[in-house]
Symmetry: C2
Subunit: 275 residues, 2 copies
């Protein structure tokens, strides 16, 4: 069976997104850090990795863009997952008996309204939410609940005691599927991601975008990132519809190479949209 590396413990959102991308099935393997995921994928061309690349509330994950530039791996797929948080406890726990709530502090930040409503509940930070669920399962403490994704309940025999307690329902994370096997999808349904560097002289970006505009290529993401320590140099992330295997986009990319300081085509890939 194919192997898919992800960062985190069983039950992590990355793992859920990976199963949805590769259904009916793939063997998922958790790693401690994103770098370890890239190491595993780079070392085994038959395997895949899944990495979060941006969240609708907290923005692009530059660390993973940096790793995409460092390693000889390419994007071969994309999937976007709705992030939803449930309050989970041992079966039979009464809400009124709960004293402590365990989760990752970033999760607490996204559930502020819940804690404002129930100030008697004490949030206790832990390393990862799925890990907290595993501990709760073994400790059998009915004064504790965890906040985690809905997928975690079944995995650790917990029950959902309150559902969808996140502040903002418009919480989505976009993931890339990566592989050391360079294979670009062709055709109209493909999406392409590129990263390039430019020295910021006024109008340079306008030049770059004219390359897409004159060919009616549709951009779906555009982001500049200052290269700190190198004043006036910028990295740009651009996603567009189409494939570099097809002539129009191929020409755009060639044209591009004439005006930028460096360019990497991260992949032309299949996108599964929002799940």
């Amino acid at each position: 069976m194919k192997r898919l590396y992800f960062q985190g413990t069983n039950g992590a959102f990355s793992e859920v997104a990976g199963h949805k991308f590769f259904k009916p099935s793939i063997k998922t393997i958790g790693r401690r850090t994103f770098k370890e995921v890239f190491d595993c994928v780079a070392g085994d061309p038959e395997s895949y990795g899944i990495i979060p690349i941006e969240n609708s509330l907290s923005g692009s994950i530059h660390k993973n863009y940096d790793l995409l530039l460092q390693y000889r791996v390419w994007i071969v797929g994309e999937i976007t997952l709705r992030i939803k948080f449930d309050l989970l406890s041992l079966p039979g726990t009464k809400f009124t008996s709960i004293r402590e709530v365990w989760s990752h502090p970033v999760v607490f930040n996204q559930c502020e309204k819940f804690f404002t409503r129930y100030p008697e509940l004490q949030p206790i930070p832990v390393y990862d939410s799925a890990g907290a669920a595993r501990i709760l399962k073994s400790e059998k403490n009915k004064n504790v609940a965890v906040i985690a994704g809905p997928q975690v309940a079944g995995l650790y025999n917990l029950e959902c005691i309150k559902s969808g307690i996140e502040d903002n329902a418009e919480n989505f994370t976009r993931f890339f599927i990566i592989s050391a096997h360079k294979k670009f999808l062709s055709g109209k349904n493909a999406k392409t991601s590129i990263v390039f560097g430019v020295r910021n002289v006024p109008g340079i970006l306008f030049k770059c975008l004219s390359i897409f505009a004159l060919r009616n290529i549709d951009l779906t993401k555009l982001e500049s990132r200052p290269i700190i320590g190198k004043p006036w140099e910028y990295l740009f992330y651009i996603d567009f519809k189409g494939s570099v295997e097809d002539e129009v986009c191929q020409r755009a990319v060639e044209n591009f190479d004439e005006v930028v300081s460096f360019l990497k085509v991260l992949g032309s890939y299949e996108t599964k949209g929002v799940v």
Copy 2:
């Protein structure tokens, strides 16, 4: 004395950046959430707030952009702070006696190499790093160290036992100073931030950028953000050099209003660069 609201406990990076912006002095007041900072600032036009808006590793903080759109507050200043982490302990603690290291999990993510080098140290997640230092000061435990910014040591009588243990020295956070008092800086040294929404028809962004290009206005940030739930609608964040109080930029913004679905000028402000 002027009042400056920030999110966090005494010793937070936001507070440090605020003191550097307003030196010689300002009274800083910590609040639990970013929303509370905006509430305080919106309710008191004589006060200021400081909010992180983007980090060089983890990207733009969309939540604060959303709050900038929701509240009647404006950006009146900008400062960028180098983020550095030290290992702090009680005076006289030997490194070899340390068993536990307390900090925010996001800090652990940024100090992975340190924990790989010293696998015998157990990272214990806490709510905020400055808070952990305060607890260590009162508990007087010589088997514990905390990871926090250098400013935290003096505040809680701790000593730096290892300095600069972050993985990536190119770690910077950019902060905005906000105020309910709408006052735009004019002149060449000003920087302007705008947010606008567009329906994504091919080439719309090219049109938008032509408005800047034909006036030789220099963009320093450009980022698209899909509005999830509204397919094909995007928010754009743009920063450029110059002030909307001056004619060229004012005309650009008027011109802009003709092509976009909505536009907010967040401020024309003083920037203090990297400190």
